[in-house]
Amino acid sequence: MHGNRLYEGQKLALKYFFVAMVLFGAQLLFGLLAAIQFLYPDFLFGVLDFSINRIVHINALVVWLLYAMIGAVYWLLPDEAGREVVGIKLGNLAFYVLTAAVAVVVLVYLFVQVGPGKESTIWFITEGREYIEAPRWADIGIVAVVLIFLYNVYATTMSGRRTGILSVLMADLIALAGLYLAGMFYTDNIAVDQYWWWWVIHLWVEATWEVYVAAVGGYILIKTLNANRKVVEMWLWIEVAMMFGSGILGLGHHYFWIGTPEYWWEIGALFSALEPVPLVGLFVHVLYDWGKHSGQGHKIINVPAFAWLTVETFGNFLGAGVWGFMHTLPQINLYTHGTQWAAAHGHLAFFGAYVTILIGAIYLAIQGKAGLKELKMTKAGWWAIVLITAGMLFMTVALTASAYVQTMVERGMYGATWQGYFAAQANRWFLEGMGWRLAMGVVVIAGYVLLIYDMLTCTKKQPAEAYEGEVAAAAA
């Protein structure tokens, strides 16, 4: 912001945030339908199959997170660089092109649910790779849009103030965008294909996205706590060093059972075990900043953003750290791979590491858009954070209960056979876990409704003194 006006880049960020929240709703809705189908397989069979619900659920997650990430960068970019985003018109054009492409891709998923697996399917319907199922024409479009985004970030930073946060983001975004290319070509050998596919997924979520989140988290800490920029930036570089070590070689835990050489067992085990270390560092950092500032009269300038950042610290630790380590070592992963353990870990890790911090970034933009000096938490905001966090936590516990049954029955007792698969799926305790997962899904959706309500109305419920900045700025 300059004065009380938003930069054009920040207005573009608000558009990205809006679409991100719509897609977040779609993700939850299709997740709920898939959860119902786990319990009642005939539900919507032939109308909206489980495979399609799952595709939309997972891809909506990835796409809304990317939208929110791009939005967060467009929000902080002019503020950090001290100038308007270079190529803002191109940025706006890219936003509309991307949004139209996402809409078309989803409609194709919904209307073409079954068909032959031909070359044209890869180009126009789906590539069939989990998390990045978009057809190739959309892939190429995404690359073009991301190139525009990269150009805007680089051109703006190079011609403005180059802060540590922006420097880290510049390096990270190159890796983030470049890795997407690894998921755009096909090989006939499925083991080789999986090898490259993991480059996109794993190196996104456990390397480049983690660094990205650390950069945005650092910006939020500076904005909400007045944290010392030098400390934040020093920590960012440490994070980069650690994350690229544990993140890149930690990739090995996805190579255990896809036909790659056995030395990946040792590499994957060691570096997967090291993956929680950067999380511990982040935890110490937040604790350190909080400790340094408590009792010094520092106010929290944006309570909702800081609250979501706090949830991020614990959610990331529990989801990525605890639930990850419980089943990552190869000796036990032999039995847990591909069971509901992955779902339990994935749900809490994605929520803890990314959803929370991006919601925090959106609250920062809400405060900026309204020109408020401070943003307090409203009742709806508290209920949203409680319902979504508790819902996700208990959903993870429910999935873990089902996962335990699945591991014992399907893998341990029946030795990963089809008979074992169906015996585990019909097990009473497995189904009980799935039932609780569905119930917690409803709780999360209730929290989402409150979150949207709060995002739309919280600025109108702030105390009068919060508007002092706006009035003063307007008068000036």
Partner: protein, 106 residues
């Protein structure tokens, strides 16, 4: 190097999951208590809790190694990792303090 993986008995599944979770929890408790004491947010005798957490962590790692029947090479790696983790919060705190001092007194 030859790699070999032993079958895990069914009755060891639950202890492995619980023990793995404890590894991460105790690791966090060590770092957490250490930082809180260093920042003087809790009494200094809580440092004992930090080092007890680290000892618990070492015990859990050892037990996990037994349950997973790890190779001698992995045993050595785990031992090295525990020593490294003992030092890790000291290094992080040292770096944060130095940076703070440098920029607060600049």
């Amino acid at each position: 190097m030859e790699y070999y993986m032993h079958d895990i008995p069914l009755h060891d599944f639950l202890p492995i999951f619980v023990d793995s979770a404890m590894v991460i929890f105790l690791g966090m408790m060590y770092a957490g208590f250490f930082t809180l004491v260093k920042l003087r947010l809790v009494k200094s005798y809580f440092m004992v809790a930090a080092y007890l957490s680290w000892l618990g962590l070492v015990g859990c790692i050892y037990y996990l190694g037994v349950l997973l029947q790890v190779e001698p090479y992995t045993q050595k790696v785990l031992f090295g990792a525990m020593v490294g983790y003992l030092i890790f919060p000291h290094i992080v705190y040292f770096l944060l303090e130095k940076v703070h001092k440098r920029f607060e007194h600049a």
